[in-house]
Amino acid sequence: MAHNVNSLTARPIWLIYQFFKLDGLLFTALVLLSLSGLMVLYSASGGDIALVQRQALRLAVGFIGLLVMAQIPIDKLRAWSIVLYVVGLVLLFLVLVAGDSAKGAQRWLSFGVIRFQPSEVMKIWVPMMMAFYFSTRLIPPKLKDVVIGFVLLATPAVLILKQPDLGTAILVTSSGLFVIFLAGLRTRVIMSLIAIGIAAAPIIWFKLHDYQRTRILTLLNPESDPLNAGYHIIQSKIAIGSGGIYGKGWLNGTQSRLDFIPERSTDFIFSVFTEEFGFLGAVVLILAYLFIVMRGLVIAANAQSNYAKLLGGAISLSFFSYVFVNIGMVTGLLPVVGVPLPLISYGGTSMVTLLTMFGILMSIHSHKKLLGN
């Protein structure tokens, strides 16, 4: 056993991973996926090399963020959880009173030259807070703890929903729910919550904005309005479907190249990918995501502290939920909510957030080893 480890660690690349406190498997998967993403982006942007370079730069920044996060011991992070959570709530509140508008929603805060989207960092800070809270409780948690946990979760979620930004609100909420779930919330409580959720669906329906309702209706029957609301979904499905088993080939997707796919570099980039690489490509991509999720869960399971376990697990499942919501959205399973495809969609903010989250996983991974020894 020890011999095996030595022979493995003797390789120079593994030494580098060890030096930077990285999990080799996870890191390699992330790098490969990101590079593949650049390739897809090149096609989706219609061969816009400048755009690909910009994205590569953001990737580099993101990976630096990952490396930095990996160096921070997980216990230090744990200590910051409450502060960051409170700061986050304040920022979310500021967004509502003094934020910049874009496309009918207030999501941005400006600090001089830096524009900043507080809801984005809450994707990390909320699960950190939740993990912190439940790591201080008994596992499995008592009902009272769960109620407090829900309040901690609902406060930022409602603030984000007010912007309005349904997509991020859902992702933030789900990241918190993952913590509660992993903390061992009793099955019957989960069942009752689901029942309450179904019962509350009509109320939520009336609380939704018109455009959000339209999206859901459109999802149910896109052909009812093929030129307006349904257009995105129809064109996306045509792109995916016409890819067939083997795809049309890289740079050969007619739906993407000829502008039929909307937002093809960002939210709908999966349609571009599947049109060009077919069902086989989609299977490979989903397996790659699955691998990353599994590796993340393994790292979480091997963590020493409950905080690390809960946060690591929530990060892994959140990552998966992004994938699921995005692919579900472009294949017509879920309403269009504006969630990018992790590591592939064009865009800096979500990329940096994601890689930061993986930096936390790396930290959980490496600092467990130290503790273990």
Binding site: Q255, L258, I286, G332
Partner: protein
């Protein structure tokens, strides 16, 4: 707080987390399965459906009109050409509101009402994804302006095509006819598939007669279009097959000389090569420029043509039916010779007029004093009417009818064009059938000098002349002498069609009649001796002066007293060289007066143009 953690059972807590993690993994797998199931449904199960929709999205099939076959003269001079032109086409399904579109386009492109009406009519009958021409022949300025503003007009494009052009303008109109825009009747009549991209069709003349081979076969272009409906590139092309090029028997130089010889007079000239039936010149005057009709003639211009009293639209050479007058005398003479009514050497006394025994009516000779004693040769040379009155009276209508018919008068010749007229060779049976009356001997008398019911087209007279020249051999007259499928193939000549020859009982009758025709030009007293002057070849001919109105019995025909349109038609037929005929000509000048004075010199010019063609020194 830290104490609470310490209290917690590490092992139990770890177990709870692991159980939940496993549950999460299961949920993740289920979620992945849902995604893959959905993808499988889209990409495998419904692949064909989405593939079709993707193709429909980005591919557009356009029919491409074939290049129309060219028409050339015998020497390769272009008579009907295709010139590059640009037209504005609209794909209605991509163009949005058509009325608004037209409003914006008309800010810099001029449309006339007829074009707009036509466009609105056409788009109703077509599928909305098909390109429909909105305006033909864009000017350079319109092209430039549209190029700048094109992005504002999705679904509107400039299409490079070709337009029929007749470089010889009015010279060949009555042979070529013209193409015009297809109307609804044309669209219903023609093969919808092959004519899908075709906008013009032969309306008249050779353009119509040879429409099926001139048109060619439609091609297809698979265009790639983007979401905005703009063409990105051509994916695949199935080349259209160009129409067949036609080489005509006509000779442009001769045609022009003939046309100019008629000048501003109304009339027709047809020249035929007696050796094969090739039509060498085919003139009907006045004429008009066929290019006017190609892209729609204006109402005003059309009215002017239609209401013009000289009738430029009327194809005199093909459809004009005239009393042939004395030009048929050689054939009447053959009929008389063959029916043993006369002997060529015998002389007959020809006074100033002829009377049927016991009838008072006088059939006058054109020459007031009469000709005295004449034999056949002299009778032909001087065009002695009384000589022929006597023959006609003696033999009756039957032999004349039969011989005229053998010379292809009274029926269509089968020239390869549209709408040939039959002419008329009367017979007793015909008169009974049409007029329900008996045939009168007096009618035979006037038929002998080409008057009465007898009618012939200039084309028929030329054919008659050609057969006289060839001692009865005959060919079907024709315009097209060769066809070319592709430039590489070159022209493939067509064989002339031989007609049943006219076999006489006695071969020397040909010589007897033809020497009379030669004497018309070369005889000391020949009516057309004026045209022999300076001729470098031997000409045989026959003049004719056809009455348009009947002259009262005791009145004299005085040209000056008679309204122009009631004056006699001047006719002349001729062939040359006499010993080896190469050209036979028929000339008619409407209300021209004397055939020998007016028509004969025109025939001479035509023969000169053909026979002396390419010779450096003029006569």
């Amino acid at each position: 707080m830290a104490r609470r953690i310490a209290i917690g059972d590490q092992r139990l807590e770890s177990e709870v987390f692991n159980r939940r993690a496993v549950a999460a993994v299961i949920l993740v797998f289920i979620a992945c399965s849902i995604l893959l199931f959905q993808l499988y449904g889209l990409q495998v199960t419904q692949y064909a459906h989405y593939q079709t929709r993707s193709d429909d999205n980005h591919m557009q099939l356009q029919s491409v009109a074939p290049m129309r076959g060219l028409i050339l003269d015998r020497d390769g001079v272009l008579l009907a050409d295709n010139q590059p032109s640009y037209r504005l086409v609209v794909t209605p399904s991509r163009a949005g509101n058509i009325d608004a579109l037209l409003g914006r386009l008309s800010e810099f492109i001029e449309f006339d009402d007829r074009e707009l009406r036509r466009f609105n009519r056409v788009i109703l009958g077509r599928q909305s994804f098909q390109q429909t021409p909105l305006k033909f022949n864009l000017s350079n300025q319109e092209l430039a302006l549209f190029a700048v503003k094109q992005h504002q007009f999705p679904g509107v494009e400039v299409l490079a095509t070709s337009t029929r052009y007749y470089p010889q303008h009015e010279y060949f109109t009555h042979t070529l006819g013209y193409v015009g825009r297809m109307n609804r009747a044309d669209q219903q009549r023609m093969d919808a598939k092959n004519y899908r991209a075709t906008t013009h069709i032969g309306k008249l003349g050779l353009e119509k007669y040879y429409e099926d081979i001139l048109h060619g076969e439609v091609g297809y272009q698979h265009d790639e279009i983007n979401a905005q409906g703009r063409r990105q590139r051509v994916l695949r092309t199935e080349q259209a097959k160009s129409g067949v090029d036609l080489k005509l028997s006509l000779v442009t130089e001769v045609q022009k000389v003939a046309t100019n010889a008629l000048g501003s007079r109304r009339g027709a000239i047809v020249a035929i090569d007696p050796n094969n039936g090739d039509v060498l010149a085919f003139v009907s005057m006045p004429s008009f420029d066929p290019n006017l009709f190609v892209n729609g003639i204006s109402q005003k211009a059309y009215s002017e043509l239609r209401l013009n009293s000289d009738q430029p639209l009327f194809n005199r050479a093909l459809i004009g039916q005239y009393p042939p007058g004395s030009t048929v005398k050689p054939v009447i003479a053959l009929a008389a010779l063959e029916s043993n009514q006369i002997n060529a050497e015998n002389t007959i006394f020809a006074g100033p007029y002829f009377q049927i025994p016991k009838q008072s009516r006088r059939y006058r000779d054109w020459k007031k004093g009469g000709h005295g004693r004449v034999d056949l040769k002299l009778a032909l040379a001087q065009s002695c009417d009384v000589y022929f009155y006597k023959l006609g009276f003696a033999m009756g209508i039957k032999p004349m009818h039969d011989m005229l018919t053998r010379f292809n008068l009274g029926d269509k010749l089968g020239l390869d064009t549209m709408g040939e007229a039959r002419g008329l060779v009367p017979s007793a049976a015909w008169k009974k059938r049409i007029h329900d009356e008996a045939w009168y001997p007096g009618e035979s008398v006037i038929t002998s000098i080409g008057q009465g019911y007898l009618l012939a087209t200039p084309l028929q007279l030329a054919q008659m002349t050609a057969r006289l020249a060839m001692n009865g051999l005959g060919y079907k007259p024709r315009f097209v002498i060769a066809q070319r499928k592709t430039k590489e193939d070159g022209f493939v000549p067509l064989e002339p069609t031989v007609l049943p020859s006219i076999d006489l009982k006695q071969q020397e009758h040909w010589q007897q009649v033809l020497s009379g025709m030669r004497a018309v030009v070369n005889g000391r007293t020949g009516t057309a001796r004026n045209i022999s002057r300076g001729a470098r070849y031997d000409i045989a001919g026959k003049s004719g002066t056809a009455q348009v109105i009947g002259i009262a019995q005791n009145a004299e025909y005085e040209e000056a007293d008679i309204a122009q349109h009631l004056r006699d038609h001047a006719l002349f037929i001729a062939y040359a060289p006499v010993d080896q005929p190469k050209i036979a000509v028929a000339v008619i000048v409407e209300n021209g007066g004397s055939g020998s004075r007016v028509a004969a010199p025109i025939a001479r010019k035509v023969m000169d143009a053909y026979l002396l063609k390419g010779m450096t020194d003029g006569p």
